[in-house]
Amino acid sequence: MTGVTGSRIVIGSALLLAIVLTGFGTLIVGMAAYSDRETRQKGALKPIVRDQLFDRIAQPNPDWESWASGLSEAERTVAVDVLDEYLRRLEGDRKAQFIEASEALNIDENALRTIRTGDTHEKLSALTWLVLLESRVDVATLRQRCSGTPDLRAGAARLLYESDYDDEQMVGTEFLLQGGKALSVFGRDTLYRLNRNDPTPLLERGSIEYRDWSPSLIIQILSVIEHSFPVGDDVPLDWITHLLEHESAEIRAAALRSLRPYGWREDVLKRIDPDRHATDDSPIVREALYGTLAEWGDPETVDRLLEMLRHEPNDRVRLAAARSVYRRTDRQEHLVVCGTERAWNWVRANAAVRGNDT
């Protein structure tokens, strides 16, 4: 590189760099200015729009149409944010008024249009609005437009649940379990809401399909069953008792926990061998067993549990069992004589300070 050529290259590079940096810098400053203006504007408008909303709600005839038509573009944006915030918090008549205000802004119509034409993120947002507005959308549309991803299917199932669709439980559960893969917490919560009062369809589906489900999904469904109300003795639970033999310790433990509402069913009691599970290699299985036995709570079962605890080698499992016994039975004093004194003292001392549960 000769001196003159080198200098030219350096100067040329410096100029190019200056141009690139100036362009990028201008973009950043421009975005910052725009973002700042938008933030300030929203901050200033939010209390005004919120007050307008509450003033109108207090009136016998809020006339939402005239309110909506009088809003500027910026005010509409803020109003949508405010409605989103309150629709999530409110229930009953007050929520119904906010739904009317939302409909005056055509949020529902826009959302319905979006679930037909939008991309995945837009559809998720649209489904969220339809859930908040408790809108009804026909199942065929949801099947066709909102079944591409687990999140979309969960959103569609939630919409069926919130809008009291006639066959919400069957169709919503079908949406959620499509694909057989693990659910998000939102999806699992939706599955729970759909089935908690009567998990019969879920249990019947499980008896047919459980082999097609991923281990993660099996665990999630078992946890939904654990938290749901129990159903009658004609509903199949044998597939769950089969899972007590599964190679995965997590599934064995989840299966044991899912039977907690069913301690009264003879077929369940016959199929569970507590002594065998009490010697399971996995501490999470033994912990699940002790919790289940404590939940069942009848004197004979608790006696068995206390006897098992004499041989339990894991300190943390003993502590978990002591907590379960403390919460679920009136046999706490017996813990002292079955080798769990330290665990029992710890549970009791913590409860003494907190003045309540452990």
Partner: protein, 504 residues
């Protein structure tokens, strides 16, 4: 003499070629990471915007979180910090403060303010940490647990906390960190979206210097006005925001800040908790989680979530900053040495073939070679071995590319975080972005050499830290102060530490 001069000349040219080659490799990697980060920003923004329509506070499936706060001589800040932790928005939360053998009034302050009562029983299981004296609970704050133990360092204190909680997840935080109120919800998103595979998630770390803190909350957000915290604030945006988004997108996230990270409790217990013989416990624990899960062929994810922010004090003196950076560098070497079998090993996926080699080449070797260049090139120019124009071009490109990366971090913050976005603060940050590459970066290269020397002679101490606190009496808005001593490495193990090392 001519022969020696020729040999020196050839050596310098060889070193120069090596340095240029390394420079090209390192900057190509940075371009990949930050390019991926810029693409990832949009996806992260979209993910953040979706708030599923359900009620977390009534869902039985929301994972509980223990916020574990190691505290060593934090009497000035602990009450204020704890107030902020106890008001975090989350359905099921427990705050576990571990007093790590403090010499000051940390425990006394906690006992007074929260009416702590001792749990009158022995802990019924073994906890892998220094002896625990007492465990306290508050009758007024059911979610508060305070552990008083012998000094054992930050890792030791974290282990005490994660063994004593029953929560499914734990969030490791520094006692001097302010976490935004909704940050736990946001950082938990990966665990909510993929509950069966998420094992760790980290949020963004930002410098609190310049902000106003009242009642454990930030009431005014401003960029630092002092030079050193200002430089760090841009450095954090580049490394802790854009760099992390990029690494996340490349499935190469191997470092989650010790100041704010969420982990699956059982997973960390299963790998034996935090290692106590390292000064980079945050880096080490994530690498070992990768080793544990990938080594067993288990499906798992370590994620970065940009929107939740933890604010932490940045050192405002060159001495304190130097000690911090030397410790980070030593910790980085320790972690790479301890896990050297993973480096380049495809069994560990992108972590083995990309992330760890990147840390080795760019973050460990890079600064050493850079400093070597600063020492050798000026005499080489004088001796006529290197053309001044060539050197000028090299410096220009280095600084220009560095400024672009720094500004890319600011761009990400303006686009996604939107905490302070006005023109004036942005211009100030962009100014820091330029200065970060003129002087500060070169200084850090020489710090790396000193840290390497310390590592070689076996220095393992953390160094003393002094907090100024967040309250109105804290002077400059909560700035960590140097203690002024030339040699501040101590025998006691510091628990209160700053955020982890940012990548270049």
């Amino acid at each position: 003499m001519t022969g020696i001069t020729a040999l020196v000349g050839r050596s310098i040219v060889a070193f120069g070629l090596f340095a240029i080659g390394l420079y090209i490799v390192i900057n190509s990697i940075y371009m990949c990471i930050h390019g991926a980060g810029l693409f990832g920003l949009r996806a992260a923004e979209q993910r953040n915007q979706w708030n599923p329509p359900y009620e977390p506070f009534t869902s039985p499936f929301f994972p509980g979180i223990a916020v574990v706060v190691p505290a060593y001589n934090e009497a000035d800040t602990i009450v204020e910090s704890l107030r902020s932790f106890l008001t975090l928005e989350y359905p099921d939360i427990e705050v576990v403060v571990v007093n790590d053998g403090s010499d000051d009034e940390t425990l006394t302050r906690l006992r007074e303010v929260y009416d702590l009562e001792r749990v009158d029983a022995d802990i019924p299981f073994d906890v892998p940490c220094e002896p625990i004296h007492d465990v306290y609970r508050s009758p007024n704050h059911e979610d508060l647990l305070v552990v008083d133990k012998d000094n054992g360092g930050k890792s030791d204190a974290l282990n005490a906390g994660i063994w004593l909680t029953d929560q499914e997840l734990f969030c490791a935080v520094d006692a001097d960190t302010i976490i935004e109120r909704s940050a736990l919800f946001d950082v938990a998103r990966p665990f909510l979206r993929d509950p069966q595979t998420a094992v760790a998630a980290g949020g963004t770390i930002r410098i609190i210097n310049g902000c106003t803190v009242e009642g454990g909350r930030i009431t005014a957000m401003n960029p630092p006005t002092q030079l050193l915290p200002g430089l760090q604030s841009v450095e954090y945006l580049r490394a802790f925001l854009l760099g992390r988004i990029g690494l996340d997108r490349l499935r190469s996230l191997v470092l989650i800040s010790g100041a704010f990270g969420l982990f699956r409790t059982e997973a960390v217990r299963n790998i034996g908790g935090y290692r106590r013989d390292t000064v980079a416990e945050d880096f080490d624990v994530v690498v070992r989680l990768h080793r544990h899960f990938a080594g067993r062929g288990r499906e798992f994810r370590v994620r970065f979530v940009p929107n939740p922010i933890a604010w932490t004090e940045g050192p405002d003196t060159i001495g304190a900053l130097g000690r911090q950076r030397r410790r980070w560098y030593r910790g980085q070497i320790e972690t790479l040495v301890a896990n050297w079998r993973m480096i380049g090993n495809p069994r560990y996926g992108m972590i083995g073939v990309f992330a760890l080699p990147y840390f080795l080449i760019a973050e460990t070797l890079g600064p050493l070679v850079e400093a070597g260049g600063y020492v050798t090139i000026p005499p080489a120019i004088v001796l006529g071995i290197i053309h001044p124009e060539f050197f000028a071009l090299f410096v220009l490109l280095t600084i220009g590319f560095g400024v672009l990366l720094s500004w890319a971090g600011i761009f990400g913050a303006v686009w996604v975080l939107r905490r302070y976005t006005g023109v004036k603060p942005t211009l100030l940050m962009m100014g820091y972005g330029i200065l970060e590459n003129i002087g500060y970066r070169q200084w850090k290269a020489f710090v790396a050499w000193r840290a390497l020397y310390e590592y070689a002679i076996g220095v393992t101490a953390w160094g003393d830290l002094e907090r100024s606190g967040f309250g109105p009496d804290s002077g400059s808005g909560g700035v960590q102060r140097d203690d002024g001593a030339a040699s501040t490495e101590t025998d006691r193990v510091g628990t209160a530490v700053e955020a982890e090392k940012p990548e270049r």
